[in-house]
């Protein structure tokens, strides 16, 4: 959809812009020439208007799409971030099948009881320290079968932590769920695995790993099933910064609490002041001078106060108590309480 609109838009723009620029350069700055140019443009425009009514409609449609795109620019960025996540998820699923196929062989082997414990440890090292293990071809194709077997084993005698992980893994078909949990759970998972590794069972696992019997395939996927830690060196570059992701929901929650049309708009375009077009810093974005939700930078707000002191969006006078809210701008929640109470007052 987004790429479609880009394609639609880029065609008319690309076709019209260079022509106009070229014209501009050729027509010098003398006023007469400019007037001629404008006249020509007007006539051309008129004739175009007659001929290409349909084309203009097309262009208009494209522009509308583009506008929508621009308004939801921020949202789009978030969507990109989210869209990256499932990709990571897919990779994780790749690792997932690998390990399951790995589990398959020992569980079929006669020494399944002991090896299951070992497997718990083995997979544990695979998650944390296993990044060093060389990747190798995985015998795939036994995904569904091995999954059930693995579940049985997990119920049997594995460690509690491993059970938890297995349960979490069984839920991977619901990608969204997993995405949510992957934000929350990774620290625990990592902790548990590190504990297991420190149990000292790793060497035993290593010997079994070298055992050529059933262990031809080692899942070499160097990452954990869950999200990467921010400082993880194996974390893909394509993943967004966690800090950014955490700040966005915070902001959106705030904007929604602002709860007005302008608040929503500025939730979509919170990056620059609509008056002076300078970037909004954190202080500015948490500054809500008017109950209508129109945001602007402190600098412009001060200049407006020096003139007529009316909100640019709703034309109401900026009130003193909202100016008082300015002093509590650092504590975002507090300021919003102020803003909300103001809106209550204005309603009543």
């Amino acid at each position: 959809m987004v790429s479609d609109s880009i394609a639609n838009v880029s065609i008319p723009v690309a076709s019209s812009n260079p022509r106009d620029f070229g014209k501009k350069k050729r027509a010098n700055r003398a006023a007469k020439l400019k007037q001629c140019k404008l006249d020509a443009r007007r006539e051309q425009w008129l004739s175009q208007g007659k001929n290409k009514g349909s084309k203009q409609e097309l262009n208009g449609g494209g522009e509308a799409c583009e506008q929508g795109m621009q308004v939801t620019n921020e949202k789009g960025q978030l969507m990109e971030k989210l869209a990256i996540k499932p990709r990571g998820e897919a990779e994780e699923n790749g690792g997932y099948t690998n390990t399951y196929s790995d589990f398959d062989s020992p569980s079929n082997s006669p020494t399944s009881h002991t090896s299951s414990v070992l497997e718990g440890n083995y997979s544990g090292t695979n998650f944390t320290g296993g990044s060093s293990s060389s990747s190798s071809s995985s015998s795939g194709g036994c995904y569904s079968v091995s999954m059930s077997e693995e579940d049985n084993e997990g119920d049997d005698d594995c460690l509690d932590d491993w059970e938890a992980v297995a349960d979490a893994l069984a839920a991977t078909d619901k990608e969204q769920e997993q995405h949510n949990s992957s934000l929350d759970s990774p620290p625990e998972v990592h902790m548990s695995f590190q504990l297991e590794v420190s149990d000292g069972k790793v060497p035993a696992m290593d010997t079994s790993q070298q055992n050529p019997k059933g262990r031809g395939t080692i899942p070499g996927f160097p990452v954990s099933f869950r999200a990467w830690r921010p400082d993880d060196e194996f974390r893909p570059q394509s993943l967004p910064n966690l800090s950014k992701q955490y700040t966005f929901p915070m902001n959106s929650e705030r904007h929604y609490r602002g709860g007005s049309v302008w608040g929503c708009k500025s939730a979509a375009i919170p990056t620059s002041c609509p008056i002076c077009c300078e970037d909004l810093d954190f202080t500015d974005t948490s500054f809500l001078p008017c109950p209508c939700g129109f945001r602007l930078c402190l600098f412009c707000h001060k200049k407006i106060l020096e003139e007529d002191g009316r909100c640019p969006a709703c034309r109401k006078q900026y009130k003193h108590d909202t100016v008082g809210g300015e002093t509590t701008k650092d504590a975002g929640g507090l300021m919003f309480q102020v803003a909300r109470s103001c809106s209550m007052i204005s309603r009543s």
Partner: protein, 157 residues
């Protein structure tokens, strides 16, 4: 001053990007001075200005957007709120009702709206205003139509 430049530059980019967004408005920035703009607006349909293209001259103050831009018609137009000789426009949002949230594009839209809905009680063009106030809609329309044909439509041949 910096703020006005930044703001105008952003509006310029916006206009370049959505050149076809509003088919009734063409905003052109002066090649050498970002504080001088020219706009071409189409007369709204179902008015005597239908089919005409009217040229507007914008002069943007340094305090923009805290101060409104100065706009006047370069094309002759017979309209109660437009001075017939100077092209000065009597429009509240260009005076005391200005808001910094408005843009040059939105000013153009407001002027198109003013063309469709003349306000005869604050006339700059007394002849036009008197025609409307006396209820001679037909007289007003035919005069406006004539001047549209004379001044705002391409010459034939």
């Amino acid at each position: 001053m910096q703020a006005s430049r930044a703001r105008l530059f952003k509006e310029y980019k916006e206009v370049q990007r959505e050149k076809t967004a509003d088919p009734d408005i063409q905003l052109v920035c002066d090649d050498s001075n970002i504080f001088k703009w020219t706009a071409l607006v189409k007369g709204p349909s179902e008015t005597p200005y239908d089919g005409g293209v009217f040229q507007l001259a914008f002069s943007v103050p340094e305090q923009y957007p805290l101060q409104p831009p100065q706009v006047r018609f370069l094309t002759k137009i017979f309209h109660p709120n437009v001075h017939f000789k100077t092209g000065e426009i009597c429009l509240d949002i260009l005076k005391n009702a200005w808001s910094p949230a408005w843009t040059l594009q939105s000013v153009c839209r407001a002027i198109i709206a003013l063309m469709a809905h003349p306000e005869a009680d604050s006339p700059l063009n007394c002849d036009s205003g008197n025609l409307l106030r006396s209820g001679d809609i037909r007289g007003y329309q035919s005069m406006a139509r004539m001047y549209t044909r004379l001044a705002a439509m391409p010459k034939k041949g």
